[in-house]
Amino acid sequence: MPFTTIDAAAKRGVTSVQEYSLLSARALGNLFRRPFYGADIITQADMIGVGSLPIVILTGFFTGGVLALQSASTLAQFGAAAVTGQLVSMSMIKELGPVLTSLMVSGRNASGMASELGSMMVTEQIDAMRALGTDPLKKLVMPRLVATIIMMFFLTILSDTVGILGGAACAVFLLGQDSSQYFHTAYQTIHYADIIQGLVKPVFFGFIISTIGCYYGMNTRGGTQGVGRSTTQAVVVSSVMIIASDFVLSRFMIGIFGR
């Protein structure tokens, strides 16, 4: 590969990171500047949060169920089938709840943001908004960012709860375990540190989903084909970023809390 190609690719990469950082910082900064688009935040919260409820509930329930199903047989080999509830609740609260909810919300909403803003970009609606004296980062990006972070927090709590219930349904009705034992072990094993870990992650993931979705939307070029490309890139990049940052956050919080 000629040096100029590598050079140009490196410059593009660095520029993208710089533009992404600027967009994120400005969107966050706009939270504290007037005008405050409260109504837009509520509209976005409804679209992102309430709209994602069915997929989050279904994903959480069946993940909890399959976790109980798979782990019970392995635990039974060690005579530890009684701790199925513990395994399901720990896994859901610390890892699977936040990560799977984020991946589902990313698939639904990062793509939605990228395509919506991308379409506005290629039809000059974003330029028109600027020309009308309105900052699109304030009007379009900030409400999506705030709404995604807030709703991710609550969707994760819901996913954790439904996941533990799904595990219980599987353990009780399919595996014949005792329900009070399941819930007792599930409850007893959870510490505040685990809950904090599980609830800090969706805040970061919500930030990643919204900023990546908006970044690709606001940088769309090349008509309808460009909109499609932005949509795909937004989902792929946000999903990879969620999983990668989950590792970093887990390591960081295990270091802090010691578990």
């Binding site: 609606q125 330029d127 028109a128 004296g133």
Partner: protein, 286 residues
């Protein structure tokens, strides 16, 4: 007083004064040696011209010559590589985004394809800037109806842009641009892609706006017939009609600019344009 002395880059956010009135002696628009390029290709080179207050300037040139880029530079959507751009005495090429947003309250822009917000109704599109300024609903309804009546589309209030024809969308875009009574209007090919009859309707609206409100305008077009219609027609307030001036008479406040290969090759009156000896200009207008 020279614009250079007046130029400032900041607008007091607490001031109620219209930014266009802060420096009343300043030109509406002034370009000083402006150049811009994209991906190594020079698009505009050393462009200098002025738009006086109340004046209409028609920017002509073949497609792809950089006319729309020039308009985006004028309202600060793009920054020049070199040179300075002033609007109402403010140096838009060096202003912070927040100040630019405030200044744009005095500028109305009509985009090439209208650029209406497709998820908003006609009423909400036209009312967009008023809603952002937290104007009371009754006042918004009154001003939106007034603006839509100007473009003869007051019956489309509840329609979405996708339900309108191309010509109607441009007229709504004009209504959206004039609803706040801006001091400067930027028209980016308002008749591009329209049939001759609809184009005439749009140009008549531009003439009506120019003669009724005396708004400074910079209009980009590659259609010569539209440009000459602007120079040879006026709006008669008594008959409420656009009428042609007697032969050999032109509107003195409407003049021309012409771009060719990124350079400004003409800056003058209608008379100068039709009598130009420049080969390119002669070929373009013939």
């Amino acid at each position: 007083m020279a614009t250079k002395e007046l130029a400032a880059n900041a607008i007091d956010p607490l001031s109620d004064t219209d930014p266009s009135q802060i420096y009343p002696e300043a030109q509406a628009v002034e370009f000083q040696d402006v150049s811009i390029g994209f991906e190594g290709k020079q698009v505009l080179e050393n462009i200098s011209f002025r738009v006086k207050r109340g004046e209409t300037r028609v920017l002509l040139g073949p497609a792809g010559v950089g006319k729309s880029v020039l308009l985006k530079l004028a309202n600060g959507l793009l920054k020049p590589d070199t040179g300075r751009i002033f609007v109402f005495g403010f140096e838009v090429s060096a202003m912070r985004d927040d100040d630019l947003f405030r200044l744009r309250g005095s500028i109305g822009t009509v985009f090439q394809e209208g650029a209406l917000f497709d998820s908003l109704t006609v009423r909400d599109n036209v009312a967009f800037r008023l809603t952002e300024e937290r104007v009371p609903d009754e006042e918004i309804d009154r001003r939106v109806t007034e603006a839509l009546r100007f473009v003869e589309l007051e019956h489309t209030l509840t329609k979405f842009p996708s339900e309108l024809s191309g010509g109607m969308r441009r007229r709504v875009a004009i209504a959206r641009a004039i609803v706040t009574k801006p001091e400067l209007l930027l028209y980016d090919s308002p008749t591009g892609g329209l049939d001759p009859i609809t184009s005439t309707t749009i140009v008549e609206l531009v003439i009506k706006q120019r003669d009724v409100a005396q708004t400074s305008s910079l209009l980009v077009t590659h259609r010569l017939q539209d440009a000459f219609m602007l120079a040879t027609h006026h709006f008669n307030k008594e008959t409420n009609q656009v009428e042609e001036l007697p032969e050999n008479q032109t509107i003195p406040s409407t003049s021309f600019l012409m771009l060719h290969q990124g350079k400004l090759v003409f800056d003058g009156t209608t008379h100068d344009l039709v009598n130009s000896k420049d080969e390119f200009i002669k070929g373009y207008i013939s």
